[in-house]
């Protein structure tokens, strides 16, 4: 079952590369949250109950509900519909995401380590690298926020890959980081849109001497 969730998670990365609609980005992020919940549900049953419940809440409540709802509000407030800002054709992005997935698969095998779960590690690295790629090819601050969340989801998977029981304190900190990061960055997206009448990063280039 875990493999099913991981494969579907990889497919969501391909869909991110294919999509141009902002609404679809939000739906894909919500799906990723549900998939992370599934992965946790089937793999972390051995940890302490309180910690298990906490991680479940983190995935299902925060990642697949609170954040998508907040992003949807930001989308509506700013009238964002479709992103045309990427200069790289979708076809090349699909090739790129495939190459990233294959590359992370080879790296995982090369760096084979007894206590690292390769199944999580492959898709975690792919997610983090794809998040960076997503940020680079897009020119809207909203898309950058989506890219940041893809990286954060990759890091969540990475924490499962490297032993899966990080102390509760760290889990709490990571959750706060994601929540605060998204809320603060989201507020800034609104501010940028209000001030510059656009969410394009081309507007944010006044600082260079």
């Amino acid at each position: 079952m875990t493999y099913f969730f991981i494969i579907v998670y990889s497919i969501t990365l391909v869909y991110f590369a294919l999509s141009e609609r902002v609404k679809k980005f939000i739906v894909l992020l919500a799906i990723q949250g549900v998939l992370l919940f599934g992965i946790v549900f089937f793999n972390l049953s051995h940890v302490a109950l309180a910690e298990f419940i906490f991680i479940l809440v983190e995935t299902i409540l925060v990642k697949s509900l609170v954040i998508p709802v907040f992003l949807n509000k930001v989308r509506k407030d700013n009238g964002l519909k479709r992103v045309h800002e990427t200069e790289i054709p979708v076809f090349y992005s699909v090739i790129a995401v495939t190459a990233i997935l294959m590359g992370s698969f080879f790296i995982s095998n090369y760096l084979h380590q007894q206590n690292i779960h390769t199944k999580f590690f492959t898709v975690a690295i792919a997610s983090a690298v794809f998040g960076i790629y997503f940020i680079i090819i897009h020119k809207s601050v909203f898309s950058h926020l989506v890219g940041y969340l893809i990286i954060e989801n990759g890091i969540f998977l990475l924490s499962l890959a490297v032993g899966s029981d990080i102390p509760m304190l760290v889990n709490l900190a990571v959750l706060l980081d994601v929540l605060m990061g998204v809320l603060v960055i989201g507020i800034f997206v609104n501010r940028v849109s209000d001030r510059f009448q656009s969410t394009s990063i081309d507007e944010l280039a006044k600082l260079k001497d």
């Binding site: 960076i132 029981d165 760290v170 280039a205 600082l207």
Partner: protein, 474 residues
């Protein structure tokens, strides 16, 4: 004890933001200064003692907290002047004070964090408060700077977190599952070197935005261009020291293993590229804030070279970080005054500063000698020690290359500083409406004086702290 410190800091910050009262803000700021000094005293008296489970009053933390304790009252005084000049709204003043208090608390937490995950949390917290402070003027450009800083810093810190996760994985294999620095150092020799190298490079890349070095320096430079001058002073001193602590802690882990040579080479490449980029970028700068921001990048590049040299370089690195904090903050406090006089941060809008404000001009001139490490600058001593270490270790090419870049940087900074001091008076300046506070420069002279004194005649306890901080490396 640190738990009480954080609770007090949160209470003070929260009260400031909630009540939005100018007099209350000043009272609470004074209270926080006392709290900050008190925590430094407690740290000194509890040397090497674990506190609040995840913190430790270690030598490096104590040293940098003492520096912060010196900078806190000066920053608050200059913040008071800054807000009086530019921010009439009580609400925005309160947000400024609240965020400043929390930034200092987060930096103190980062200095003393004994757990790498908590260190990461404290560093991440600094991002949030710096963003609020950079956005203080609410202008379009400050929005751009704060957005870039928030976003790139979040990405950088996320990358660093990946490094911490890798470290978790290899520490599980090699020993007890703990993210305590002491445990990680004691288990480091049994860690898989490939994973350790990956973890180190991720942490170095991630925290580079805090240390203001290659590769993520750009957002830090932009933020420093627009931040209020007292905040800039802290960002270029205490916050840079936070970045140093972050990287130094991980360096201490990798330094116990056979991968130390590799890590030193990575630091050398990072350091040289940072100094080179600073030298190139200084040809293009048009604002004083940006000039000093690139100067910070240059100095942190030198610190990377000191770690690369190893041996006596370690001592010189820590001395350099301490002295740089005093000198750079002094320069930024003075920049606050000159910006106010010329009503601009642009170099082209300045000139004849010696005629307009002789005391301020003297600070700028002293600051120029100090920051370019010309004797009697304290930084001359630390840079001399760093280059001596490089030559002793036979890294002649690296040293010569760095010296060439430093010469270019010295020329560029000199060109801009002498324009400010001796060029013609700007046409827009209305001398009748100038309000010059002569006492404002006292703090800057004191800071430069500290840097000279500590460079040439460091007190015994300071030497002990520095030697103790690097004992694990020798």
């Amino acid at each position: 004890m640190l738990v009480y410190y954080f609770i007090l800091a949160i209470a003070i910050s929260g009260t400031m933001m909630l009540f939005k009262n100018r007099i209350l803000n000043i009272g609470l700021a004074c209270l926080f200064i006392l709290v900050q000094i008190a925590i430094s005293v407690v740290a000194v008296s509890h040397h090497e003692v674990i506190d609040s489970v995840y913190f430790k009053f270690d030598s490096l933390g104590i040293l940098l907290t003492i520096v912060l304790a010196f900078l806190t009252p000066v920053t608050f005084y200059h913040s008071y002047l800054y807000l009086k000049r530019y921010t009439p709204l009580a609400g925005r003043q309160s947000i400024y004070w609240g965020a400043l208090v929390m930034l200092i608390a987060a930096m103190t937490g980062a200095y003393f964090a004994e757990n790498v995950a908590l260190l990461w949390v404290c560093i991440e917290a600094t991002t949030l408060f710096v963003t609020i402070l950079v956005f203080h003027s609410r202008s379009k450009t400050s929005l751009e700077a704060s957005w870039k800083y928030l976003f790139i810093s979040s990405i950088g810190v996320a990358i660093a977190f990946m490094g911490i996760l890798f470290l978790t994985a290899i520490s599980v294999e090699s020993g007890p599952k703990s993210l305590s620095l002491a445990d990680l150092i004691s288990n480091s020799q049994t860690m898989n070197p490939i994973w350790l190298k990956i973890a180190f490079i991720l942490v170095l890349a991630g925290f580079s935005i805090k240390l203001s070095i290659f590769p993520l320096f750009a957002a830090a430079i932009d933020a420093k261009t627009l931040a209020p001058s007292p905040v800039n002073a802290l960002m270029s001193s205490a916050l840079v020291n936070v970045g140093f602590v972050g990287i130094f802690r991980f360096y201490c882990i990798i330094a116990q293993t056979e991968a130390v040579g590799w890590a030193q080479n990575v630091l050398m490449i990072t350091g040289i590229i940072s100094i080179f980029l600073a030298a190139i970028q200084l040809f293009k700068v048009k604002r004083f804030t940006r000039m000093y921001a690139f100067s910070t990048m240059e100095h942190m590049g030198i610190v990377c070279l000191a770690l690369f040299a190893g041996g006596p370089g370690y001592y010189a690195a820590i001395l350099h970080v301490v002295l740089h904090a005093f000198v750079k903050s002094g320069l930024f406090y003075q920049l606050g005054q000159s910006n106010y006089i010329f009503r601009s941060i642009w170099i082209k809008d300045s000139g004849a500063y010696f005629k307009i404000n002789p005391m301020g001009a003297l600070v700028v001139l002293t600051g120029f000698f100090s920051i370019t490490a010309i004797p009697p600058s304290g930084l001359f001593v630390s840079e001399f020690l760093i280059f001596k270490a490089l030559f002793l270790k036979n890294h002649i090419m690296v040293a010569v290359l760095a010296l060439i870049f430093l010469t270019v940087i010295m020329f560029e900074i000199g060109r801009f500083v002498f324009h400010l001091l001796y060029d013609e008076k700007p046409a827009h300046l209305d001398e009748n409406n100038l309000q010059i506070n002569r006492y404002e420069t006292i703090s800057q002279f004191l800071l430069f004086g500290f840097a000279i004194y500590l460079g040439y005649n460091p007190p015994g306890f300071l030497i002990e702290l520095m030697n103790s901080a690097i004992a694990i490396l020798n």
